[in-house]
Amino acid sequence: MKRTAAILSLTLACAPCAAAQSEFHATNEFSVVNNSIKGAGKASSSLTEGNNFLEVLNVYGNGSKGAWTYNYAAGAKATDDERNDARRVSLTNIQARATNKVHTLAVGDVFESFSQYSLATSLKGGSYRFAREGSKLPEFTAVFGSAYSRWDSLWRDPVTRTVNRQATGLRLKQQLGPDFWAAASYVGAKDTARVSAADSLYDARNYGVDFGYNPIPGMTMSGEYSSSDYDEATNGLSEKGAAARFEITGDADPSRVTLEYENVAPDFLSPLGSATPDRRKLKAKWRYKYSKRVTFNSGLLWYRNNLDNNVAAGTTYNWKPELGVSVKRPFAARAYSNADLSYKFDRKYGAGSSGADHYLNANYRDRFGELDSDTNLGYTLYRTETDVRDASEVTFNTSLSSRHEVKAVVFKPSLNLGTWYSKDELADETDKFYEYSLGLGLDAPGANLTSDLRLGANTLKKSAAGTDDSSKFFAALSAYWRPKLLARLNESTLFLRAGFNDYTFTTTSRNFREKSLTVGLNTAF
């Protein structure tokens, strides 16, 4: 049955291909990579040794026939590197959509995003929508399919096999005035065909309403209420829960203000939507343009859990206020100067935890002659009353870059320096990290060539006994060339990427070196 459904979906998705088409495009990227890894610690590398390839093909197009317009897209990927994909050949996407401005049909990958709590994921299946512009009839959407994240799972490929989550959704949306709409949704999700005995199997139903309202120019309100009712077979659970959220935004210079409230019950389940159960949240944000040069940002986020007082450890509360200011031209004489300063506070307490973290950050960007600079200084203080993490950390990064044109060639040299310092007060240990890198970009617009060479090193110094210091030297080259020879293939680009990483540790048996060379051709027509 599933195979039949899959074949049907694919057949339907390909149907427009056979029809008269007005536009067709394809993109293809083929690359070959050679990775070489040496050293006693080579098992730590994330590269696959040897020669591998990656092929990615996408086709898409659109057209019309009578009163109907249609579009379609399909893609496939092939590789022999398991780190690129567990499957050697796989279908990445396939979709066909046809509409006559009233009825819309879609098959294949369908993503009918109803609302945050009801349906916010894509399905492999089909959908239908009725919407008549200018009519008082409501907009109606129906969707069905499987919530697999990839097509291979649909035919239960052994490598990508997973729980089958069958979904059905219905939505009715009505415009109740020029500035106000409301909608009601139903989404059902039923899990079957688990892989292991421990996999949860849900049979869930979500019923919800949501709305949007623009009472006056610049102000928007939106909200949603959703109720869930589910059974879980593995643990024999049957629960009901509800979630609600409300948001109001006022946006007009010089201010933008957002207020949010959310309450998600512990037993609320949204298998196809987006929700964090057991959370009550309040949020306020205010961006204020004090002048053309100065903008203030402030925010407060508060949330807690244990809404039904059933968490044995107790309730955890979180306070997260923040304040920031951005200044354009803080020094009037410096036309390209920009400064940002921000402070964030993170307070968490309850359920045996108590932490108060402070984050301070300052950023300054400017241009000195032909040199662009970007400098960042951060200070973080982690504080806990339960001796989990008491540390102070300092981060500093600066980058200098420039651009020079010499005849038909553009040179873009750059320098990056960075350091991170961490003092762990509980363990009385210190970690230090240093990094530098040099870059040289080289563009030859006349020859359709862009390239970038970057090399540098970083070092992690640790004071704790039994831990390794480490360092990494790295070099990376990337080049993209659109030769005139391939102009017939429109956007064809030849590319080359080369990388070298040399990792060294105090324990020399962990040392390893990686060399990687990738060449490829990207074609579009």
Binding site: Y60, T92, F111, T121, V163, A198, T258, W420, F433, F505
Partner: protein
Amino acid sequence: MKKLLIIAAALLISAGTVDAKWWIFGKSKAEVGLKYLHINGVSADETGPKIKLFREMLGADGLVKISGRASGGQIGSVRLTLDDKATWTEVKLAANGTFEQSFKPEAGRTYALLIEVTDTAGKMNKPEETRKELTLSEENVQARVREALDALFQAYNAEDLRKFMAGVGENFAADKGILERAVKRDFDALSAINLRYTLNNVAAGAQGRVFASITFNRMVMVNKSGQTSTDSGSTEFVFDSKEGKLSLFSMKQPLMFGLSDAENVAIGQVLGGGEGLVIGPTGELGGDYTNDSFTDADGVASYDFDMGTEDQSPAGIGCGNISSGHVVFNLSGPSIYPASGALVQEIPGKNISSVTLADVQAITGTCPNDNNSGKTYGIKSGGANYAMEVVSITGAGPYSVSIKFRKF
């Protein structure tokens, strides 16, 4: 719930009668200029100087809509140019200074948009300050997703928080403020981050949202321990295009970003995807694992990780012959081997917190015959992957066994 409905109703009723914009806490100086400018519904303040448009972002008519409001006293006229001041078009102006103009862009062409506002006294704004370069891309949605993911991955690899957060939408489902702090903690906890991905599946749909599933491959250095960790797997993202470009709307576990507060950052888990790497409150790698201990009298016991139970008298004898559970303990050896249909192999240098899915996927062994205490093993059984750390084996019949294990 009733309180919420009452508050919502009160706000809805009161807002409809409000004349003043209560959220405006001050006024800019009365200079001639633009109070606001929107390009296809996106505030020009929130875009960079260059705006890339995609066909999916245009309406059915394929038009780009420019709307705004002139400010600074009595406005006489508003003109705009799309060709860097070569030609100007006067736009129709409402009495309150608002205006709207549309044009149909051609793919691949760059439009230099500037807006000139003049008041009745002849005073003008500085058009250069309104300059935006617009291009209509010929790319499809896959290219858009890759562009958005590339920007996020590059910023995360470079530990550049400002650039990373620029790719996250204001409406990020689990809250942008929570993600920002979690990513900052990630950057304090990790170095030498190397994330790579390939796309598995992309689907664009209603409300401008785009779904993407990827296969990822990751290597990180954990500052606290000085150890490297690698893993790979599949995960899912949803992007929002309300802000004129694709911005991150939600992520599932295994997480790519915000590992330091995975519980609050992730919206659910990829079916069969596991939890992946997470960073604990101390800045070290951690993850949910289960502790268990049991005793066995005869020295042979099998263990089932899914059920969390041992079988003290398993059927069959020898490596790979025992038909219950996933792994078999020969406690007198001591040694360990797989139950029927499984693979088991030691993963040296790792413990239950640092072992990754990639480590387990790489095993090929069947019957290690060694001292188990303190060692970590990968187990492959059917389509599932497990890791187990043998904490201790003591006694000589009865034996006491203590283990930690996790499923990926």
